[in-house]
C-alpha cells in the first residue's frame, strides 16, 4: 500500500470509532435495536446510501460534486417499475437502468469539461432527470420485474444481498481510487487541476470517468432502493442528493477535493443510517433525528479541522527542525 493511502486511512479512524461506539452503545442499551429484524432493516437502509455516497465521493475527490444522483436514483426505480412498458426481461431492464445512469454521468462530465461549474451542471441534470422520472412513472407504484425483485430482495442469513453489494462496491472503488493510476490522477486533479495538467495528466478524461462512475453508482443505488420499496417512486431518490454529500463529509473527504478516503465514506454512510435508527429505537421523534444529524455533521467537521490544523502545525515544526522556512 502506498504512503498516501495509509495516511488517508489513518484519518478515518475517528469516524469508524465513533460509528462503532454508537452502534455498540445502542446494542447494549436497546433490546429492540439488537434484534435480527432491526439488523436487517438497518443494513438494507444503509445499502443505497453507501452506494450513492461512494459515487458522490468520487465526484467530490476530484473537486467536483454530483447533485444529480438523487434524481438518477428516482429514475432507476421508475424504470424498474415500468419494465413492462419497455419490454425485455429483468436483465435487459437492469442493463437499461445502468446505461441510463452512466449516460447521465457522461452528460455531467461533458458539461463540466466544457467549462460549466459542476454545481450548475449537475443541478441542471438533477432537475431535468427528475422530470424524466416523472415522465416514466407519474406516481409511485408500477410493477417491478419478478426476476429483478427476486434478486434484489435476496438475503444471506440476516444480511440483505444489496448490503453485501454496497460494501463490495465501496471497497472496489476505494481500491481503485487509492491504488490505481486512475485514482492517483483523480486525487491530483482534485487537489490542483492545473498542476495535474502540467504533470501530464489528462484532466478531461479523469473528470469524464469520475462523473460516469458517480452516475453509474447512483443507478445501482436506485436498484438498492427498489429492494426496499418493491416498486418505483419518481421522487424516492430525492433525499439522497444531500444525504450522499453528508455521508461523504462525515467520512472525512474534503469538499475542496483531493483529500480523504472512500473507506471513511463507508463509515460515514453507516453512521448516517444508524443515527436515525438508533434514535427511533429510543422513541425519539423524527424532528430530533434531523437536529441530531445536523449537530453530528458540525461536530465531525470540527474534529476533522482540528485534525488538519494539528497536522499543519506539525508540518510547520517539521520544516523548522529541518531548517526549511526561509
Amino acid at each position: 500500500m502506498s504512503g498516501s493511502t495509509l495516511h488517508n486511512l489513518r484519518a478515518t479512524v475517528p469516524i469508524w470509532a465513533f460509528t462503532a461506539l454508537l452502534i455498540l452503545v445502542a446494542a447494549l442499551l436497546s433490546p429492540p435495536f439488537r434484534t435480527l429484524t432491526n439488523v436487517t432493516a438497518l443494513l438494507s437502509l444503509a445499502a443505497p446510501l453507501i452506494i450513492v455516497a461512494t459515487g458522490q465521493a468520487v465526484a467530490i475527490l476530484m473537486a467536483g460534486i454530483d447533485l444529480s444522483v438523487g434524481s438518477v436514483m428516482s429514475l432507476a426505480t421508475a424504470l424498474a417499475a415500468s419494465y413492462a412498458t419497455f419490454g425485455g426481461g429483468a436483465l435487459v431492464n437492469t442493463i437499461l437502468i445502468l446505461v441510463v445512469g452512466a449516460a447521465i454521468g457522461t452528460l455531467n462530465g461533458l458539461g463540466v469539461i466544457a467549462g460549466v461549474h459542476p454545481l450548475i451542471m449537475t443541478l441542471s441534470t438533477y432537475i431535468a432527470v427528475r422530470g424524466l422520472a416523472l415522465f416514466v412513472l407519474p406516481s409511485p407504484g408500477g410493477e417491478v420485474s419478478g426476476g429483478l425483485l427476486q434478486f434484489v430482495t435476496l438475503q444471506v442469513g440476516v444480511v440483505p444481498v444489496f448490503f453485501i453489494v454496497a460494501v463490495a462496491m465501496a471497497v472496489v472503488v476505494w481500491y481503485a481510487t487509492a491504488e490505481s493510476t486512475w485514482g492517483r490522477k483523480l486525487y491530483a486533479v482534485g487537489s490542483n487541476a492545473s498542476n495535474a495538467e502540467k504533470s501530464g495528466i489528462n484532466r478531461k478524461a479523469v473528470i469524464l470517468v469520475g462523473f460516469i462512475v458517480s452516475g453509474l453508482l447512483a443507478s445501482v443505488a436506485g436498484l438498492a432502493l427498489v429492494s426496499r420499496l418493491y416498486s418505483g417512486d419518481p421522487l424516492a431518490g430525492d433525499p439522497y442528493t444531500l444525504n450522499s454529500i453528508t455521508a461523504v463529509v462525515l467520512g472525512g473527504v474534503a469538499l475542496t477535493g483531493g483529500r480523504g478516503s472512500i473507506i471513511g465514506v463507508l463509515s460515514g454512510a453507516l453512521l448516517l443510517s444508524s443515527i436515525g435508527d438508533v434514535l427511533n429505537m429510543f422513541g425519539v421523534s423524527s424532528a430530533y433525528q434531523f437536529i441530531a444529524t445536523g449537530l453530528t455533521l458540525i461536530v465531525a467537521l470540527y474534529v476533522y479541522n482540528v485534525g488538519v490544523f494539528r497536522r499543519d502545525r506539525s508540518a510547520i515544526s517539521a520544516l523548522l527542525n529541518k531548517g526549511g522556512v526561509g
Binding site: 500500500m1 495516511h7 493510476t181 486512475w182 501530464g200 506539525s314 517539521a318 520544516l319 523548522l320 527542525n321
Partner: protein, 505 residues
Amino acid sequence: MTDTPSALIECRNVTKRFGSTVAVDDVSLGLVKGRATALVGENGAGKTTLMSVLAGELQPDEGTILVEGEERRFRSAMDARRAGIAIVHQELSLFPDLTVAENVALGREPTRGLSVINNSKLHTSVQETLEFIRISLNLDQLVGELSPALQQLVEIAKALHSRPRVLILDEPTSSLGTQEVEVLQDCVRRLEDQEASVVFVSHRLDEVFDFADNVCVMRDGRLVAQGPLAEYTSDALVTEMVGREITQVYPERDHPPEDRPPFLELSNVTAGFVRDLSLSVSPGSIIGIGGLEGQGQSLVAEIVAGIRQPEQGSVRVAGEEVKLRSPQDALRHGIAYVPPDRRTSGLMLPLSITKNAAVSALRRIHKLGLIRPNPERLEVSSVADQLHLRYKRLSQEVSELSGGNQQKVLFGRWLLVPSLKLLVLNDPTRGVDIGARAEIYALLRKLTEDDVCILLISTDLMELLGLADLIYVMYEGRITGSVLREQATEEEVMRLAANPDGQGS
C-alpha cells in the same frame, strides 16, 4: 539541412501573443546536445513564455518547433514529454498530500496490470532517479512536510524521472541553498555527459556563469543576443538584458542615519524555533537579517508582523511594550509586512491592480464605507508612477503582470497605508529582475528618508551588503552576530551564517 546540425530541438520564428501583448516575438533558437544554455532577461521579457511553448504548455501563434530536424506540433505538455522535453517551473507543481515517491512518479506509475499501481517498483524507480540527482529523501514522507528547498529538488526529480533529452529549468535556484545549488550543478553536468540538453532560465548572473556554456538574452519578447558565454562579461549581459546601462543598483545614502531611539525593540524573544532573540530598529534605518535559508528569519518577520506571538520576551513599539495579536494589530502600529511568496500569501491574483493596492487602505480612502472610485484611482496611479509599475490599465488583473511588477503592486499596497512606520520585507526581490530591483531599492531608500524603518530579511548577501545599515546574522534560530555597514564584507557575514560558534562577535 539546418545550420546547426546537432540541434536537438529548435524553434523557428516563434511568436506568441496574449491578447494585444506580444510575449514572444519572432524567436529562433536551437539547443545543442550535451550543452547547457542559459536564458536570461528581465522579468516579462518572455523567457517563461518561450519555454512553455517549447514544453508544449502553450501553442505558438506563429512559427515551428523542430525535434531533431523534424517539425513537431505539441498539443499538450504530455506530447512534449513524450518527445523527451521536461520543464521545471519556478512555481512548484507538487501535491502536498502525496508522498515524495508518488509525486515524482505521478502520471507514470508502474502497474501490475489493470492499472493497479506496483508500489515496490515505483519505489525502486524513484530511488534510482533520486540517486542520479544524488539526494537522499524519505520516499514515504508527504511532500507538504518538506522544506521549500527539498520540494524544489523533488520537483526537479519529477522532471528527470521521465529521463528527458531536454531539461528546462525555469529559475530553479530561487529557493535553493548553496549546497543544493551545487547538487543541481553537478546533476546538470552529468546530464550533459549523457548528451542531454539543459536550458537554465535565471536572473542570477553569477549562477549563469557557473551552469551554462551558451547564453541567450531576451528583451521585450525578442532574442537580442546569443552565443558562447565565454564571449560575454557579466556587465555586457546586464546591458543586453535591460537595453541600457545600469551603473548603480544600490542607491547611495545621502546622509548617515542619526542616532535615535528605536521604533521597534525585541528583547529576549523566544517563539518556536527562535531562541532568545534581541534586536532593535531605529527610524530611518534599514536593518538586515541575513543567513542561510530557513534559520528562523521568517519567524522573526512573523512575530513583528503580528502573525505569531512570542512565547517569551517582549516586543516594544515606540518605547511601549505591546502585544501584536494579529496583522491588523501590527498595522494599527504602522507595521506592514511583505511576505516572501507573493502569489500565495500576498496578492489576490484575479483582482485588479487597484483592488490589490488599495485593499489595506480602504477605510482611509473610502469614508463612510462607500467606494469612491476617483480618489482611489488617483492614489493608486500616483503610487504606480512612483514605483514605475508597467501596466496597461489599473483595472487590469494582477495575474497578467510579470513577477517584478506584481511585487511592486504589493509594495504599493503598503505605501497607501496611513502612517507607515516599519516595513518588514521577506526576500522582497526573489524572482525580480535587475531593472525592477534597482527601482525597488531606490524606493526603500526614499522611504527611509521619510523616517520609515525597514527590516529587510534576505538570503541575497549582496542585497544586504548594499542596503542595510546593520546586518544581523541568524543560525539555527539564534542571532550569531551583527555587522555594521562599514565593516560588512561577504566573508564576515558568511562566517557568521555558517558558523554557530561565531556568537558574540
